[in-house]
């Protein structure tokens, strides 16, 4: 079991993780260096693998595994995903994307990501929430 054993985390990341750990809304956290550092139990159901098993990995690797695609089915560059936009462009982002999960399932998810800025406007990472869409709940 690859429980994370990285560098000390900043307070905004710690607080975001504590929030996520208490939510039934799937969420994941990327730190300021671009490492995936956490996803919650609700996210584990969609991603198909417990975080404790996966451990901290570069978000690049995480994105490759998920085989992101846009709503029209075309492959999505990671930097164009909501988390990528929030990380590289430092602004919030929201869109519908396709992911392929660790258990091989293809899912349609709606995703919102925003950067976490600290008191000195320093970047601490990105928080992304996402939820699965299906024919019955996609009312957009």
């Amino acid at each position: 079991v690859a429980i994370s054993a990285g560098a000390p985390k900043s307070l905004p990341l710690i607080l975001a993780r504590e929030l996520g750990a208490n939510l039934a809304t799937p969420m994941f956290l990327i730190d300021a260096e671009g490492m995936l550092v956490f996803y919650n139990e609700a996210a584990e159901l969609l991603i198909g693998r417990p975080f404790a098993e996966l451990g901290e990995i570069p978000s690049l690797e995480f994105g490759e595994t998920l085989q992101l695609a846009a709503a029209d089915g075309t492959p999505l560059r990671r930097r164009d995903s909501p988390a990528g936009v929030a990380f590289f462009e430092r602004r919030p982002s929201h869109q519908v994307v396709f992911i392929t999960t660790y258990d091989g399932a293809r899912r349609t998810v709606e995703s919102t990501a925003y950067p976490l800025f600290g008191a000195a406007h320093d970047m601490h990472g990105v928080l992304t929430v996402f939820w699965e869409l299906d024919a019955t709940n996609d009312k957009r």
């Binding site: 994370s4 990285g6 560098a7 000390p8 504590e18």
Partner: protein
């Protein structure tokens, strides 16, 4: 270095017969570095008698390290005599804010109608600094601040000199909604600052049974502080920031509870009290009254 407690009460000064043994003044701890400079940790009401002492025994270099700006950590500033001596150089450090400078936020208190004297009218030469999240050197000590979980921007301080580490986390709720024992160290607020401390001053505001009514208020119960001290591998723990409603006898009971949860010697866990002295040097750590 030598530390002396001038105030260890939390939230509100609580003088009276029920608090006379541990004291009623709010947070203020003096740290005299072996290399000369004096640090003052927080500016609670305990700062008033400290100012009198410094008036009688002046110091060359004075640094006030604020953990945050709640009134119980700030109120003594307006009664600190060295600030009212022209020619005195005082450095004030405190947590950064994205909205206002440290001086502007302190001036909210040191200005009418809350206080008759404006910060700008204080005779001493006061220089303000954001709390250092990278190590700074004062005398032969290194000082580092780390943001911690409380209400609003708050830091804890780690002071190292001559191989000893003194850590001050007076207001801290190290976990909210998660079990501290299950958390990896790097995900625990304050752990990086407190790790391997020779002396850890830590928030111990609540009994465990009181905490349920105060989740998210930014303070610790005994389970928290002892769990945190264990995770941080602290060598000794000083319970600090006593609840203003806790009497001396209730604090004694709280100490007994804390010691039951400590694997080491009982004397390594104690309650802060006004007048408490702690020496940290090459020979070790010694507590005295």
């Amino acid at each position: 270095m030598q530390a002396r407690v001038w105030g260890c009460r939390g939230s509100l000064a609580a003088p009276g017969p029920d608090t006379v043994r541990y004291g009623g003044n709010t947070s203020c701890v003096e740290v005299r570095l072996d290399s000369g400079p004096t640090l003052v940790l927080d500016a609670g009401t305990g700062m008033r008698p400290l100012g009198v002492a410094i008036d009688h025994d002046p110091v060359d270099e004075l640094h006030i390290l604020l953990t945050h700006l709640h009134m119980d950590h700030l109120q003594g500033l307006g009664f600190f005599r060295p600030l009212f001596r022209s020619g005195t150089d005082v450095h004030v450090w405190g947590p950064a804010s994205p909205v206002q400078s440290l001086a502007d936020r302190i001036a909210l208190y040191l200005s009418p109608p809350l206080f008759p004297v404006r910060l700008s009218d204080i005779p001493a030469q006061v220089t303000f600094h954001d709390a250092p999240e990278e190590e700074v050197t004062i005398g032969s000590a290194t000082i580092r601040a780390g943001k911690v979980t409380h209400q609003g921007p708050t830091v804890g301080y780690r002071i190292e000199e001559n191989g000893r580490a003194f850590v001050y986390l007076p207001d801290h709720e190290p976990s909210i909604g998660v079990l501290l024992a299950d958390e990896p160290s790097e995900w625990i607020s304050g752990h990086d600052v407190a790790h391997d401390a020779d002396v850890l001053f830590h928030d111990a505001q609540y009994r465990d049974d009181e905490y349920a009514q105060h989740v998210g208020w930014g303070h610790s119960c005994i389970e928290h502080v002892m769990g945190f001290a264990h995770k941080a591998a602290a060598h000794s723990v000083v319970l600090f920031h006593h609840d203003p409603y806790h009497t001396d006898d209730e604090l004694d009971a709280l100490l007994a509870d804390a010691r039951r949860r400590w694997d080491g010697a009982h004397e390594q866990v104690c309650l802060a009290h006004e007048g408490m002295m702690i020496n940290l040097d090459a020979d070790g750590v010694r507590f005295s009254d």
